[in-house]
Symmetry: C2
Subunit: 235 residues, 2 copies
DNA sequence: TCAATAGTGTCTGTTAGACATTATGGA
DNA sequence: TCCATAATGTCTAACAGACACTATTGA
């Protein structure tokens, strides 16, 4: 399943010609009440205790995005349900592939899909990351920042939920991704205003309290200009 | 002035070993009522009519940011007053340096500094860009997007104004950067709330109407949490 | 005086956040 | 019945946008 004819996620240093740049993937999944990031063990037998971000070089003719998705699938066994580029990292920092440059991608996989992980991978809670090479540590931090920043512009939370979900589940996912609690009534009002979800006829039966209605992700066209002059988070 | 011992901004293709990636700079300046982007003529005598974004490879030991600032200064003669990385571009698209990958940076220079431009450069209004290689065109578009997006998080407008400026000048700069008109009273209220500027004792004498007070950029600590649950511009 | 620009006061509709209340099922 | 969770109604403070008004200079 993991050998798809492409190089492995932790390429041997001894490869014939060194690649000019690596593509590194920061993959997140919900785990408990916080996010976890995927790391893999070093292939190098002398450094089996070191952890790395999944990375590889791009195959000839392969787009950056395709390479990142391939690396993610190789590392965790399933396709990422959302992925975007974070940026390029270099500046002479240390990287396990010894490349001058690395292009970081951030992605997510639903937690249901993370149960069976290839043997050399492990999920680390974002609050206790393993020791990484300097450049990969910078990419991990930037990946988490990018994930949270882009939540406002991409339907990331929905890509981590099943097709049908309750509003409480959706709110919990937003809280987990953002790392902070949200106000229930405000959350639902804001959600209502965006026309991102539509109610289904199904209700959840299990559990103790009042049943919750299931919703599905169904974004409507889009709304007019947002109000305001925002200077918000200036330096 | 332009020959600083580094490669020129439009390196000859015939260089001994091809660089693995280029660094490309999208430089903007206010020109009239809109932004203009800097392009340079191709060095290649067969293609003197082609335009390019300033680009080069990074020198050994040079950081990405330092290289981008050097390229910008070489291309327009003065230092950029703000610059950030946009991202990595590749995917097999055409690029004048024939590299597999390009790292784009976006920056700004005040319009006062753009009067004397090295001979092979020219400013193009963002609404009429010249024909560029596919990858550079993508970088130009992404650079403008990045500039406008990051205005809310970086004091870009202030980097395009002299140390002392009037609130009308500041608002005009925001309008030029964002490409849209803003409401005067709301603009000033929002500015007040951010504590980004402080008044000086100086007033502008010139001109017809009532004199305007000069302000200076002087950001105070930073404010508490911003309100709200924002889903704004979801897909 | 008028023209032009700077700066401010006030009103209104919208919304975030808080709180309370109702609704509905299981134990 | 009580408890737990879902869902909604109402109040308030903050704020964006609009408008009008005052202030101060030069022509």
């Amino acid at each position: 399943m993991r050998d798809r004819g492409f190089p492995t996620t932790t390429p041997a240093r001894a490869s014939s010609r060194r690649s000019p740049f690596s593509i590194d993937v920061i993959l997140f999944t919900p785990r408990g009440q916080q996010l976890a990031a995927l790391c893999v063990r070093a292939n190098d037998p002398r450094a089996r205790e070191r952890w790395l971000l999944p990375h590889d070089s791009a195959a000839p003719g392969e787009t950056l995005d395709a390479a990142a998705r391939r690396i993610a699938k190789t590392a965790c066994g399933v396709d990422a349900t959302w992925m975007e580029q974070v940026g390029a990292f270099g500046d002479g920092t240390r990287h396990p592939a010894d490349t001058e440059l690395s292009v970081a991608f951030v992605g997510v996989v639903p937690s249901d899909d993370t149960v069976k992980l290839p043997g050399d991978g492990a999920w680390f809670g974002v609050s206790e990351p393993p020791a990484l090479a300097v450049r990969q540590r910078a990419m991990l931090d930037a990946g988490l920042d990018a994930l949270r920043t882009r939540m406002d512009y991409a339907p990331i939370a929905f890509r981590l939920l099943p097709e049908r979900f309750t509003l409480s589940e959706l709110q919990a996912m937003y809280e987990l991704l953002l790392g902070k609690r949200l106000h229930k009534a405000s959350f639902r009002r804001a959600l209502q205003a965006t026309s991102l979800v539509e109610a289904t006829e199904e209700w959840r039966s299990e559990g103790r309290g009042r049943p919750a209605q299931f919703f599905r992700f169904a974004p409507k066209k889009r709304r007019g200009a947002r109000r305001g002059v925002r200077f918000d988070t200036l330096t």
